[in-house]
């Protein structure tokens, strides 16, 4: 087992304004799997993603990662947990427009206190893996959306995280490019020591998942097994 979410409940507001975003959600993420969290808008996918990432604190429940409850860590330990264990690909990528692709990719390593040279060398290598070595000195705004997506993926995997989290990775891509990206992630990024969690409601890419969790109204509605095997 890799990460376990137990009885996660999250609400916003108090008393009369109390709105439940998540209700008693329990599931686990295993190494080597590509887990999809799907569901309609407002079903609690993003909230769940934020909670397992150590960004949003649940009101109830625990997130156990490597036998530790991450929500019992101090603020700085939580930052380190995200920095050294997780990799993020945000829906809008959030790349710094005034830095080159290579520098953008190097940022997590720099936050890990690696030297500039070491960080840039590794960033360059990772950009090679995602097929953007020839674009490493270009700023993101000179890249296509698909290329920006790959830079964001490179930034997420440059620290060799155990858990990669992608938020709506195909939202701004056309169908073909979306499939290519997810296929690339499955074939090149997913390893037996790493888990990938993808939040999406793009049903065109569901067949790439090894497991799918469906959310509805803040609750875990259903789990689907390994689609590749089905």
């Amino acid at each position: 087992m890799h990460l376990q979410a137990n009885g996660i409940t999250k609400w916003f507001g108090e008393k009369d304004n109390k709105t439940y975003a998540l209700k008693n959600v329990t599931f686990e993420i295993n190494r080597g799997e590509m887990l999809y969290i799907i569901g309609p808008s407002g079903s609690g996918k993003t909230t769940l993603l934020s909670i397992i990432s150590g960004i949003l604190k649940p009101n109830e429940g625990t997130i156990i990662f490597n036998n530790k409850d991450i929500w019992k860590l101090s603020d700085d330990e939580l930052c380190d947990f995200r920095l050294y264990t997780l990799g993020f690909v945000f829906q809008d990528f959030h790349l710094f427009p005034k830095l080159t692709s290579k520098e953008n990719v190097a940022i997590p390593l720099i936050l890990q206190k690696k030297s500039m040279d070491e960080a840039l060398t590794k960033a360059s290598k990772i950009l090679g893996i995602v097929g953007l070595k020839h674009r490493e000195n270009f700023p993101p705004y000179k890249l296509s959306i698909g290329e920006q997506q790959r830079v964001a993926i490179a930034r997420a995997i440059v620290t060799e995280p155990e858990l990669l989290i992608l938020d709506e990775p195909t939202a701004s891509l056309d169908g073909e490019t979306g499939k290519k990206i997810i296929s690339f992630i499955r074939d090149n990024i997913l390893t037996k020591d790493r888990a990938i969690v993808i939040v999406t409601h793009d049903n065109r890419i569901y067949n790439f998942a090894t497991r799918i969790i469906k959310m509805e109204d803040g609750e875990l509605n259903s789990e689907t097994g390994n689609l590749d095997e089905s």
Binding site: I55, D76, K98
Partner: protein, 378 residues
């Protein structure tokens, strides 16, 4: 941390428009502040020209004196009393007054006339031409070759003129360590000739100039003079009294203060607004950094570093441009009163620090407040 600082600098420097606007804003503010402060310092320096040019260590005067141009004559017994104070090496009278000079072409020109003690010529200037001893000749005057020299018709040695219907002859040209502020040329003569040639009140001594036996004696001398009902100020003390008068008892200080504050506000507005926009445009990226694992103090350091870099660059350019402008102006305009002092540099630096802190505070507050959860929510 060094790599993070390099990245934060690149973030800012690669956004060339904002980077240059920030530097220009601070440069402009520093330039304006330096101009105002330097002009004020220059005016104050010139307003104390006689104090610097005479150079006495201690000046005894009436307590009502506010500036070096005030003339409240001292009774002669005070000179004897001061001379009898322990710690006084010697004390001499100084006449400082204004005389109306009639030039050879028939024009009149007001001039500052300093009468030096006949026995010692204490406070005498450095001679550029002529011999100081010739001051004892009949009707002898020395003219200071300051910026007002031309107003006396640029007199050569031997040039004659009239002072209060008395004949005067230029026997030498003196160096002016500091040019005067009030537009009148300066003539040196002996104390006795000054009180003979110029209309007088009952008492004639404007100041008593004192040379102490040692620096340690100064406070004792000051206390003793105070007992006599007068005050003894050191050279710096007299300059400060002079400055304080213009600063606090005339509109000059207020005007300079207002202009300096306006310059500060201009700089703060440009820098603050630009920096805020810069942070705002990169807010989601900073939020993403937070989500990735950047700690608060790292983000604060990044923003402070960016602000500090533009602040210091702006300060450097501002000082450089202000100094060049002042130097060029002095070359072209001999009466341009402007002086770059350490105090001005420090004051401008402090103001730049305040601009940096306020500008970065706005940015830091924004970055600290952004919730990484918002980044996920888009």
């Amino acid at each position: 941390m060094q790599s993070l600082l390099i990245i934060s600098l690149k973030l800012l420097a690669n956004d060339r428009g904002k980077f240059f606007l920030l530097i220009i804003g601070i440069t402009f503010a520093v330039f304006l502040m330096m101009q105002m402060l330097s002009i004020f310092a220059g005016i104050m320096h010139r307003a104390a020209a006689t104090i610097y040019n005479v150079g006495a260590k201690i000046w005894v005067m009436d307590p009502s004196i506010n500036t070096q141009t005030d003339n409240i004559p001292l009774p002669s017994y005070i000179l004897d009393a001061v001379r009898s104070i322990n710690g006084v090496k010697y004390a001499v009278p100084l006449y400082s007054g204004t005389g109306l000079v009639k030039l050879n072409n028939g024009n009149y020109q007001s001039a500052t006339i300093l009468g030096l003690d006949d026995a010692t010529l204490f406070g005498r200037p450095n001679m550029l031409s002529g011999d100081i001893v010739d001051i004892y000749d009949d009707d002898a005057y020395i003219v200071s070759k300051d910026t007002e020299f031309v107003k006396l018709g640029s007199p050569k040695l031997g040039t004659t003129f009239e002072v209060n219907d008395h004949r005067g002859v230029i026997i030498g040209h003196a160096e002016a360590l500091v040019n005067g502020l009030f537009g009148s040329p300066t003539l040196y003569t002996t104390y006795n000739r000054a009180i003979t040639d110029l209309p007088q009140t009952r008492f004639t001594m404007s100041y008593i100039l004192v040379e102490p036996k040692s620096e340690q004696d100064i406070i004792y001398i000051q206390n003793e003079v105070k007992q006599l009902g007068y005050i003894a100020l050191t050279k710096d003390g007299f300059v400060e009294k002079n400055t304080n008068y213009y600063l606090y008892k005339t509109g000059l200080g207020t005007n300079v203060l207002v202009m300096t504050i306006v310059s500060f506000i201009v700089g703060l507005s440009i820098a603050g607004q630009t920096f805020y926009t810069f942070v705002l445009e990169n807010l989601h990226q900073f939020g993403a950094l937070k989500a990735i694992g950047a700690k608060k103090n790292e983000l604060i350091t990044m923003i402070l570093f960016q602000a500090a870099i533009v602040g210091f660059l702006g300060y450097g350019f501002g000082i450089l441009i202000a100094s060049i402008v002042i130097a060029l102006a002095k070359l072209r305009l001999s009466n341009y009163a402007s002086l770059v002092t350490i105090d001005n540099l420090i004051l401008s630096f402090i103001m730049v620090l305040i601009i940096i802190l306020i500008s970065s505070y706005i940015g830091v507050r924004k970055v600290i407040k952004i919730d990484p959860f918002d980044i996920f929510r888009g």
